[in-house]
């Protein structure tokens, strides 16, 4: 099968460029192979695919949290690497809120600023702003355990946004939430994305969520993890409930769905002994 061309024509707009990237774990599990992908400035890219297709691993590679075992990952045309550079910032939102249970909401959100040595007064102002933007203006004094799952996820997003990141990576952030909360947070996330103009890479196993959020959807398959195909979703923003019910939404979702079904079918024969890439990590 030919590789889908998910590279950008050699212009300078790529936030992250992956070339023939592979990841094999020490235990021999081949999580990813032959990944060519450019993440373009300002886009909202969603990776969707069956369990074990390496979505999470790919996101960790893009974050620089995992090293590729083959190929190359370049950030902002090599002006940025693991040691930092040019004030670029990457933020990550995990599957679970991953808040420090002993620290207040304010301290949790302030963490990236504290670690960077930002003066306290300036940091507190940024935290207040970030909390207000996720609708938690008055929750600063609470401990994480006093908040609902949806609110904890909002705190996690506020923590990611507080540094004003250029690239926001999200690993199934709303996967554990109920459908209503998830849909509301999707809409809020899009509003934040449009207001703050960061580049977003989002991982999910929900096709509906992928199509609703993204400017581009990439479908992945497993064994080895690879990108099967990608679509642009050229519908205008802001997107709301009406978009979810529109024929255009249904048409794109159907196409993505067919591709995911193919990806899953390819996965099935190995499925029983397949080890999820995330588990292997």
């Amino acid at each position: 099968m030919p590789r889908p061309d998910t590279r950008v024509n050699a212009d300078a707009r790529a936030v992250v460029a992956l070339r023939d990237v592979a990841k094999t774990y020490d235990n021999g599990t081949q999580a990813l192979a032959g990944i060519d992908l450019d993440v373009v400035t300002g886009e909202f890219l969603t990776l969707v695919g069956p369990s074990g297709c390496g979505k999470s691993t790919l996101l960790h590679l893009i974050a620089g949290l995992t090293q590729p075992s083959g190929g190359r990952v370049a950030w902002w045309n090599d002006t940025f690497d693991a040691t930092g550079g040019e004030g670029r910032r990457i933020a990550f939102v995990f599957q679970s809120p991953t808040l420090m249970p002993w620290a207040s909401v304010t301290s949790n959100v302030r963490l990236p600023l504290d670690l960077a040595g930002v003066p306290r007064a300036e940091a507190n102002a940024a935290v207040e702003d970030a909390l207000a933007r996720v609708g938690l203006a008055r929750a600063g004094g609470h401990l994480p355990r006093e908040l609902s799952g949806g609110m904890q996820m909002r705190v996690s997003i506020a923590r990611a946004l507080v540094t004003g990141p250029d690239l926001l990576l999200m690993d199934e952030p709303f996967g554990a939430l109920d459908e209503f909360t998830r849909q509301r947070l999707d809409i809020e996330l899009l509003a934040l994305w449009r207001a703050q103009r960061f580049t977003a890479v989002f991982v999910t196993h929900s096709i509906q969520e992928a199509v609703f959020l993204s400017t581009r959807v990439a479908v992945m398959a497993a064994h080895p993890g690879r990108i099967l195909d990608a679509w642009h979703v050229d519908e205008a923003y802001p997107r709301d409930e009406a978009f979810r019910l529109s024929p255009a939404f249904a048409a794109i979702a159907q196409r993505v769905s067919a591709c995911v079904a193919m990806a899953s079918a390819e996965t099935l024969p190995h499925g029983s002994r397949a080890k999820s890439a995330r588990d292997a990590r």
Partner: protein, 265 residues
């Protein structure tokens, strides 16, 4: 509210009721069968002895508590230092941890005589013995805690390019606190046991005589009521130490950790 009161009744009332029943039965059996006090003293006789020998026993209790608490403090400081050292490198931990286990599995009675010979100051020798007994749960629990850090948070710190020191102080140490206090709870009891065992071995008499010496002496003199009275004091001291560590742990973990939260709903 009623739930709270019921929980308190269960926690305090139930063990108290057991104590009352056991003591009453003991008193009745001893009285009815006319058991002599030099074999099994009745609870009343023990209580009377506690009162009549209060000066002697209080001084001994003070000596034993002093040794146990100093040993606990020493074990805590040394244990935390060892754990911090261990998490700096897997190599260090692999090289040294077996010796911590060695310390744990060697019976204190077998090395106490050596320590007492080598260390001239008796109090220091006793403290050292008790600390050796108490240190292991602190080392192992704190090491485990410092390593049991949420992977996501660790990734977050890496992404923020946190220094080793920042990760230790802001992430590992708070994550380790519940484990440390679990270790401290066990260590508090061990420190007291260590102090008593060391006193037994040392057999220190005179002004510096602890509760263990009083038990030893009372046994020889067949002063069984005083032996029981000293035993009661050791048990009470152990319970008080345990309660104190629980209180400190509640205070430190505050509202955030499950172990410090009272059951709700």
């Amino acid at each position: 509210m009623t739930g709270d009161r019921r929980a308190a009744l269960l926690r305090i009332g139930a063990p108290f009721a057991v104590a009352v029943i056991v003591l009453a039965a003991w008193q009745v059996i001893v009285t009815v069968n006319d058991v002599p006090a030099y074999l099994v003293p009745s609870p009343l006789v023990v209580a009377k002895t506690l009162y009549s020998d209060r000066v002697l026993l209080a001084r001994s209790l003070g000596v034993t508590l002093d040794i146990a608490l100093t040993a606990l403090a020493l074990a805590t400081l040394a244990g935390i230092a060892a754990a911090l050292l261990f998490v700096q490198s897997r190599w260090l931990e692999a090289s040294l941890f077996p010796y911590a286990i060695l310390l744990q599995v060697t019976p204190i009675v077998s090395i106490a005589p050596l320590i007492i010979i080598w260390v001239h100051d008796t109090r220091a020798a006793l403290v050292l013995c008790a600390a050796v007994v108490a240190i292991f749960p602190i080392i192992s629990n704190t090491t485990l805690g410092l390593r049991s850090v949420d992977r996501g948070l660790l990734d977050l710190f890496r992404l923020a390019r946190a220094t080793r020191w920042q990760t230790l102080w802001r992430l590992r140490v708070p994550s380790a606190l519940p484990y440390f206090f679990g270790g401290l709870r066990i260590a508090s009891g061990l420190a007291l046991i260590g102090a008593v065992v060391a006193e037994f071995v040392a057999g220190t008499g005179g002004q510096g005589a602890g509760l263990a010496y009083q038990i030893l002496l009372a046994g020889i003199q067949l002063n069984i009521p005083r032996l029981f009275a000293a035993l009661v004091l050791i048990a009470l001291a152990g319970i008080a130490l345990f309660a104190a560590t629980v209180a400190v742990s509640r205070l430190a973990l505050g509202r955030w950790h499950e172990s410090a939260l009272r059951t709700e709903s």
